[in-house]
Structure formats: structure tokens, C-alpha cells
């Protein structure tokens, strides 16, 4: 470089001891700066790879916090309202035999519908993304190393078929209209975003459920062949599955009257 760095008027032509000591500190600082730059580049690379727009990181995190708070508040409201309903139902005079039968009926229906928390023996299935990387493999193979909504659906379906009485995924109780749906990097379960690991809990006969899951060429078998670390089945003596926390008021569906009159109409 043609910069006249070494020719300030007050320094001697030959490097003195003082100059040498400054050379050492200059080199040290340059090394520190290089390290800082490398760390910075690496972190920015990471941000770019994780698909978080770095420029708007603050704005996004702010909105995320607001939405998260709102969701928590809403869930609490729903919980308290459902508690109210239960209280009202239980406040009916229990001495009355008719009421007793109706309440028992209602409780059974609610348990089936997933509106009450339940406990019992069962299995826990944990699904996680594979840590293995296949950079040279085709995209289809790379896609299998990630847990998809389809995989969770397959496991849940298998559990239902094997007689599971209550199922939850990441503490989201699955009810009749629950959906497990892929949404970008997350999976929406009951319209709440979930990220791996996905913990499926199912109450039922643990042995039956386990056997059903391990059927040859089933979802478990295929995933196990890809990467054994992706799926783990554990038996549990006592599982607690929470109640469904979403809204339960039907807006469009109306019950069809199935009393004697409509039956008579059909016959005519």
C-alpha cells in the first residue's frame, strides 16, 4: 500500500522499541476487530437462515407479545365461563332424582366431548424433528426429517382406532372439530401454533395403544427407519389430559328435532 504510514515527521526511520510495542497493540486490536466482525457476520447469517426479518425483529416480537397476551387472556375468559357453566349445572338440587340422572348424563357427554380434564393410564408419544442432515439428498428426503401435520394426524388416527378415549397434542385436547394443520414452520392444533417436540398423550389401554402404533410399515415404523430419535413411545400409569379450551358455542349447526312428530312426517 502506498500510504505514507511509516513516515510521520517525528518518528525515526528504524522502528524503535516504542513503535514495536504499538505494533503489538495495533495487531491485537485488529485481531479483536476481526473476531467481532466474524461473530457479527455469523449471527446475521443465522438470522437470515432462521427466516426472521432482522430489520423488523423488534416490531414482530412486540406484536407477538401482544397476541400472546391476548390469547392467554381469552383462554382465561373461556376457562372462567366454562367454570361458571359447571357451577350452574352443579347448583341444581341434587336430591332430585331426575336432575341427578340428567347431570350424570351431561357429565358423561362432556367427558366424551372433551370438555372436562380426564386422567388415566395411557401412552405418551413424543415426535421431534430429526437432527440428522442430508445436504446432498433430494428435497423429498430432507422433508421427511421434519415432523409434519400429516405425521401427527397419522399417529392420532392410529391411537383413535386402537381405542384411545382422550387424546391431547402439546396439551391441546383433541375434540370432534379439532384440526391438526401445517402452517409454515409451525403446526396449528386447535388453532394454536405448536412447535416441536410434539407430545401426543392418549388415555386408553397402554398395551393395545402401543401395539397399534408399532404395526409394521405404520407411521411409527416409517419414522423409526428414518431416524430412531424422531419418535419415542412411553407408557404412563397416570396421564392427565386437560379439557378443551376453545369456544364451544355452535354458530350454524342446529340440532334436528327427532321427536315423534317429525318421525310421523317422514312416514307419510
Amino acid at each position: 500500500m502506498g500510504l505514507p504510514l511509516n513516515s510521520p515527521p517525528h518518528t525515526a526511520a528504524s522502528p524503535s522499541d516504542q513503535q514495536r510495542s504499538w505494533a503489538v497493540s495495533l495487531c491485537t486490536l485488529c485481531a479483536i476487530l476481526g473476531a467481532l466482525l466474524a461473530l457479527s457476520f455469523k449471527t446475521q447469517n443465522q438470522i437470515r437462515q432462521s427466516n426472521v426479518p432482522a430489520a423488523n425483529y423488534e416490531g414482530l416480537s412486540y406484536e407477538y407479545l401482544i397476541l400472546k397476551k391476548k390469547a392467554t387472556d381469552d383462554e382465561r375468559t373461556i376457562g372462567s365461563l366454562q367454570q361458571n357453566i359447571s357451577d350452574l349445572e352443579n347448583s341444581a338440587p341434587s336430591q332430585n332424582k331426575q336432575f341427578q340422572v340428567l347431570t350424570d348424563d351431561l357429565n358423561r357427554a362432556k367427558t366424551l366431548a372433551g370438555l372436562t380434564a380426564v386422567k388415566g393410564p395411557g401412552v405418551t408419544v413424543t415426535l421431534n424433528d430429526s437432527k440428522k442432515r442430508f445436504p446432498d439428498a433430494p428435497l423429498a428426503v430432507q422433508m421427511i426429517t421434519i415432523v409434519h401435520d400429516v405425521d401427527i394426524n397419522q399417529f392420532v388416527n392410529e391411537l383413535k382406532a386402537a381405542g384411545a378415549e382422550a387424546i391431547s397434542v402439546n396439551d391441546q385436547r383433541l375434540v370432534a372439530n379439532s384440526a391438526i394443520r401445517c402452517a409454515g414452520p409451525t403446526v396449528y392444533i386447535n388453532n394454536t401454533p405448536q412447535t416441536p417436540p410434539y407430545v401426543i398423550q392418549a388415555i386408553g389401554d397402554a398395551k393395545t395403544l402401543d401395539t397399534a402404533l408399532r404395526l409394521p410399515d405404520g407411521a411409527y415404523d416409517q419414522m423409526q427407519r428414518m431416524d430412531a430419535a424422531m419418535v419415542r413411545i412411553a407408557h404412563a400409569e397416570k396421564l392427565i389430559i386437560p379439557a378443551y379450551a376453545g369456544a364451544t358455542q355452535p354458530r350454524y349447526a342446529q340440532p334436528v328435532e327427532t321427536n315423534a312428530r317429525s318421525g310421523a312426517d317422514n312416514k307419510n
Partner: protein, 144 residues
């Protein structure tokens, strides 16, 4: 000297770049970027001082350390206060880098021009010594 500094910078860069675990949380990335920018600013300030012949090692070293830490701390404080102080640091540092680089460039060009005119004068003097005899050369370079 300058090559030595560049080489040590590269060594420091490579040491971090090829170390697997050397990362920081993504939330702190902006502070680190600002610290790096302050480091670059200090280095270029030192370059300018060197070309002007006013380089002082202790000023340079203390400036590097203090500016780097101050920039990161200012950005952190700004985040805590809800004010984008990082922007102020970026504007100040970025502006200074531009100014210092342009001054360094001018001085380098002036220096080159000085050198070439001195050389021309020397050549002319060698061609016709009687015409230029006794005249002082530029920049105090001796012909004899």
C-alpha cells in the same frame, strides 16, 4: 506494519468464523454489529492520524476499547429506554468513517503528487544541470 495488522485481523476473524460454538443470542445481534462498526471507525481514525503523522498509540487503543463498549452499551440503553439510540451511533460512526476515509484518500493523492513532481524535477535537473543548478528541489530531497 499494515500487512501485519491485516494478517492479525484475518487470524482473529478466522478463529471465530471456524469455531462451531462461537455464537451469541440473536436478540443481542444489533449490539454486536454496532460494536464492530465502532471498531472499524476507530481503525480508520487511526489510519487517518497515521497519514497525517499525528498517530498516538494510547489515543488509538483507548479510543478503540472505549468506543466499542460505548456503542454497544448505548444501543442496549436505547433499547431499555425505548429510544433508538443505536441509530444515533450508526449515523455518527458512519459519518466519521466517510470523512476519515476521504481525508486519508486526499492525503494519499497529495503525497503521490508530491513524489512524482519531485521525481520530475530531479529528472529535468539531470538533463540540463546548468539550468537547474543551485535550485532547491521540492520536498527537501537531496540530488547529491
Amino acid at each position: 506494519m499494515i500487512w501485519l495488522a491485516l494478517a492479525s485481523g484475518l487470524i482473529g476473524f478466522a478463529a471465530i468464523w471456524f469455531t462451531k460454538g462461537a455464537t451469541i443470542p440473536i436478540a443481542d445481534a444489533s449490539y454486536l454489529s454496532l460494536a464492530a462498526l465502532a471498531g472499524i471507525d476507530s481503525l480508520i481514525g487511526g489510519l487517518r492520524a497515521g497519514t497525517e503523522g499525528k498517530f498516538r498509540g494510547n489515543v488509538f487503543v483507548s479510543g478503540f476499547v472505549v468506543n466499542t463498549l460505548l456503542a454497544a452499551f448505548l444501543a442496549y440503553l436505547g433499547d431499555r429506554l425505548g429510544q433508538n439510540l443505536a441509530l444515533a451511533a450508526v449515523v455518527a460512526l458512519g459519518g466519521r468513517i466517510f470523512v476519515n476515509l476521504s481525508i486519508t484518500r486526499r492525503q494519499w493523492l497529495d503525497h503521490r503528487a508530491d513524489l512524482s513532481s519531485t521525481r520530475r524535477a530531479a529528472q529535468l535537473a539531470a538533463k540540463s544541470p546548468q539550468q537547474y543548478a543551485g535550485e532547491p528541489t521540492m520536498d527537501g530531497e537531496s540530488r547529491n
